[in-house]
Symmetry: C2
Subunit: 113 residues, 2 copies
Amino acid sequence: MPGIVNCPKEAIMPVKDALEALSGKWKIPILVSLSRGTKRFKEISKEVGGITDKMLSKELKDLEMNLLVSRKVLDTFPPTVEYSWTDHSRTLGKLIHELQSWGKLHRKKIIEG
Amino acid sequence: MPGIVNCPKEAIMPVKDALEALSGKWKIPILVSLSRGTKRFKEISKEVGGITDKMLSKELKDLEMNLLVSRKVLDTFPPTVEYSWTDHSRTLGKLIHELQSWGKLHRKKIIEG
């Protein structure tokens, strides 16, 4: 397969690193939601759909720790919190695009059998 | 971000589909191992590293169900089983390549901080 590094360990290690940072079913959907601009907690929750507040809060913390989301507290009363992409999450553009294209292709394949 | 479909639900749904088929930390490493040719259970286990036989057997069944792995029983004594890529898993080439490149970039970013 073109482009895939040949030695198994060398080929598998970076994939494991990527999967660890993006683990679970929520992190990438959260990043896709934020790809359209800065958002508040409830806005992300609404767009991603089906995620509990507890899970969203945990995933946002993980993403922040991995430098993939930035969190800003605005000096309003009460204070409001905004989440946005970082320069580092911008590097995920191609990968997310590939996931979208493959997801469409896979759905078609599975439906057609 | 270039190429990412703009309407949230439309942008997130295919990503959820892809993540469901490739869920967990083992399926893609297994596919990377098989990207280098047909393999037996123990060979995959050795290359992926750190996976239990029970988990590998479950993940191979999931992958087979999603048309991403083909399983062949050879008429030897005792019978031997071989696993290989399918035409459908070949469509994952670009996505796996993106995961590898991003995994390397992410490791560098996290180490450099």
